[in-house]
Symmetry: C2
Subunit: 329 residues, 2 copies
DNA sequence: CTACTCTACTTAAGCGCGCAACTGAAGCGC
DNA sequence: GCGCTTCAGTTGCGCGCTTAAGTAGAGTAG
């Protein structure tokens, strides 16, 4: 809040050295022989003035910034996105990189963003719409990681929908539930996720030689949910793959009010592992994302890309999700 | 991804004018008389080269950046923080400002951040710990908005805990529930929020001349929750203020399993207005935050501060929360 | 015809920093 | 005492942009 910024010149003057020396000391520049006494003098001066180099000047001079921007459309970000962020941030921190999140609602034009910030890399977390995706690719950003919400979008898939659906079905079948239902969400914004997961369910059913899943949209209110549950029961369904835990928990609650025993009469498997999932009665079996693994994968890609290395050929979807077996199936 | 960045020089050369003219045109500089023909030439050249000014150079030159950073500790960010972000972003966008979120776990030192970015302003969303808070204040940031999680922390309060607690009690009392219980969360990270809300509850009880609330920690599992509900019932409690909707919904579920009628035997009021709240049986009455109002308030403060104006003397807590009356009380 | 104004630009001075290249002094072998 | 290397710094350029100040030419007033 002072009037004029403190610059490296001020530090140099106070320390009685040149500006270059200040820069060398504060950046721990290699190939430079500076005795500890001088270093200490400089560091003291910098500290006493609360000196912080001006990022813009630093970046301009080095020709490279340390900012990674994560661009996310205005999807409802649950607890997994922040967790992935934390994991990415932690992994790239040793390289001096800092992660920032920027929300990007459908209507907004990205172009103005680059007037404000010069990232080394950006992580696109799901599609931002055709024009923005395109302009992102054409822009002069060092490195771009394109993440997809599901196998149906372009980009790397963090949350593999196919595999998720398969895991759900295989678990139900293992426990003896052979007539599968799918609880489809009543929210357009997540259609992409849902489609991929349903495909996984269908694929697994085919592979296991059981009947096609009975797909019903699950309205997010008690009456509607109850109706869907009744329909499934009439169709002989005894195992439900829910799009996510919210739906799964709703199903469990509604079913219990109707005297349906879980998992004997009806088994349910969710997705997400919400905190509530562990504490429902019975505790919900669910396919959980592993944000730490996801973040580490993204961060590695990022670091490889920035360094100009070819990204390692690891299997992206390896270990990103896991089945948590509890008692609802 | 091209080898060399496209600079204003390239655009100038292509358009057949000087670099200064390019800058004047692209920034719509006032007090400059440039015929439309020339403007068009420049704009075409810029577009055909996909020119984006280098933010760092721009900022260095203008001595001012357009970046607002929102710093948030690693609290679980629900749906309200993103909503506040969107509201802030939208309000400041007409001024050319861009909002970025940066998470700041307790251990992390903020200092390195300013090597990466030079914000005009930062919004501190809750305390980042004593050292970081202090270093933030000493740093050379243009403007700092300090937001508090509750009345118990330093800074402006967006989510007024006192008022929240009061609203809960007054609603219960209006509906004839005079013996109040308070459901305390089993999570250390939210103690600050909870304390303020509880104080509001206690204050309202005192003012209305009813007994002190019976405070019980509500374990987030069915058995524990059931035990708490039993204790309240034994104490004659017929109206519960829950710390948040999650707890409120858990209470409703547990109570129903025990044959307790809601709201006749036991009324419950939550906080947050989760999506599930509207669809529980009975629908949950709750104190809802209004992220749009919060965001607009923060944005106004920000714009005033950046412009050097004294912030308007509006009542910060006005309209930030509201009671949503449904059927659980 | 000169002096002035207005238009439509251009020239050039920074912004603060990093880093390559240079320099002066000290140390050392012969 | 000479040339060589190492130490401990300094000088100065350039990153790409904004913007104050300047200027050539056309138009107009007197």
């Amino acid at each position: 809040m002072s009037d004029r910024r403190v610059t490296a010149d001020d530090v140099a003057r106070l320390a009685g050295v040149s500006r270059a020396t200040v820069s060398y000391v504060l950046n721990d520049h290699p190939h430079q022989t500076i005795p500890e006494a001088t270093r200490e003098k400089v560091r003291r001066a910098a500290a006493s003035l609360d000196y912080t180099p001006l990022a813009s000047a630093r970046i301009l001079s080095r020709g490279r910034s340390d900012v990674v921007v994560m661009l996310i459309p205005d999807l409802p970000l649950g607890s997994v996105v922040p967790a992935v962020m934390d994991s990415v941030a932690e992994t790239i921190a040793p390289n001096g990189l800092e992660l920032f999140l920027h929300r990007c609602p459908p209507g907004r034009d990205i172009k103005n963003l680059w007037n404000a910030i010069t990232p080394v890399a950006v992580i696109r977390l799901g599609s931002l719409g055709p024009e923005n995706d395109e302009s992102l690719r054409r822009s002069q950003i060092g490195f771009l990681v394109e993440l997809a919400n599901s196998e149906l979008e372009q980009g790397l898939v963090l949350f593999p929908g196919l595999e998720t659906g398969e895991l759900q079905v295989r678990h139900l079948v293992e426990r003896g539930h052979l007539r599968i239902g799918y609880a489809w969400p009543d929210d357009d914004r997540v259609t992409n996720f849902a489609s991929a997961r349903l495909r996984g369910v269908q694929k697994a059913c085919a592979e296991l030689g059981i009947a096609e899943p009975v797909v019903l949209t699950l309205p997010f209110n008690p009456a509607g949910a109850a109706a869907s549950v009744d329909s499934w029961r009439e169709a002989g369904v005894d195992g439900i793959c829910a799009f996510n835990d919210e739906l799964a928990l709703a199903i469990i609650r509604v079913a219990q009010l109707r005297g349906i025993e879980i998992p004997q009469d009806l088994a349910v498997v969710g997705v997400d592992d919400l905190p509530q999932a562990a504490f429902s009665v019975p505790p919900l079996s669910t396919v959980a994302p592993r944000p730490d693994k996801m973040g580490q994968f993204v961060a590695r890609r990022l670091l490889d890309g920035i360094a100009g290395r070819e990204p390692g050929s690891l299997d992206p979807s390896d270990g990103f999700i896991r089945l948590i077996e509890r008692d609802s199936a």
